[in-house]
Subunit: 179 residues, 2 copies
């Protein structure tokens, strides 16, 4: 019994929400994710749906109300979980459903998740690259060598600055630390 309601809007017939508020949240987060490129837009939509709901939602709530495939819902939820953007809560009414989902609401934690999963892995790689660049710079002679070393040094400075800024960013954005 699919309780999905066809959206009347001519614009985006993609989302079949029960109400306008959810609909708008779904679109909002969907676009935001697309814009920042955190991952597939559908994960934004899933988060948006959860964000608009007072109670945790079940797996089937999600793929039915968003009118996406079970596959997308499953993958999306796993990704969101790995980013720490949604949590699973034990089924209250233990009705076949294995778990229910609710959104992480702390901006600090949301950022942390993205940073840890997405940018930190990069850190190691870029360190290696810089080391190699420095080597290569050293091989040249005279003026060219000097030039290259200065470039590499600048890259290292950039890198250092970016790294230093991360904690500050999180400190500024996170609420006074929740729990």
């Amino acid at each position: 019994m699919s309780t999905a309601i066809k959206a009347v809007q001519p614009a985006v017939p993609r989302f079949l929400a029960a109400d306008e508020f959810s609909r708008e949240c779904v679109e909002f987060f969907g676009e935001t994710v697309q814009l920042f490129g955190f991952g597939p837009p559908s994960i934004g939509e899933i988060y948006g749906l959860l964000y608009a709901s007072q109670e945790p939602l079940s797996f089937s709530d999600i793929f039915e109300r968003l009118d996406i495939s079970k596959g997308s819902a499953s993958q999306g939820l796993n990704l969101l979980r790995s980013l720490g953007a949604v949590h699973t809560v034990a089924p209250v009414d233990a009705n076949g459903r294995r778990e229910y989902f609710s959104p992480e609401l702390s901006l600090r934690k949301l950022l942390r998740g993205v940073l840890d999963e997405r940018v930190s892995p990069l850190a190691g790689k870029s360190a290696g690259r810089l080391a190699r660049l420095r080597e290569l710079a050293d091989w040249a002679g005279g003026r060219e060598r000097k030039f290259r070393l200065s470039r590499v040094q600048q890259l290292e400075t950039w890198r250092r600055r970016l790294k230093a800024v991360m904690p500050v960013l999180i400190a500024l954005l996170g609420p006074k630390s929740k729990k």
Copy 2:
């Protein structure tokens, strides 16, 4: 007379650089752009090539040494220019070439460009969306209304924080203001 030299490396036969240092810079910036999704990776490669060069390069230097089409080079350079990431310098030896290109080296300015061109336009749109969400929240009754208003308020808080952080970010990252 294409002076491009086939890269010997088995891995990425895409870039035909004169030397390893340029090659590495091209890859480095190419990947960085891809990672952050500022635009097509080719703009990173162009920037990387310029970054590795002591002298400004001409249009044909660029598409020949990167072995990309003139079209890509043209579009990429325009995009980079609109972001303030490359500058054009008047031809020194006035030899047919209309202009030469050099990279912007100030991290502050590079960030500014991306922020102004990419995130600021978003700001207006998201403000509109939030206004609409607030409206929708208000329509509901009782408990649901309260819940929705709290959600909208949180979104507004997030937005305010993100906005406030931008200048700080730039201040922290930019060198003491160059020129």
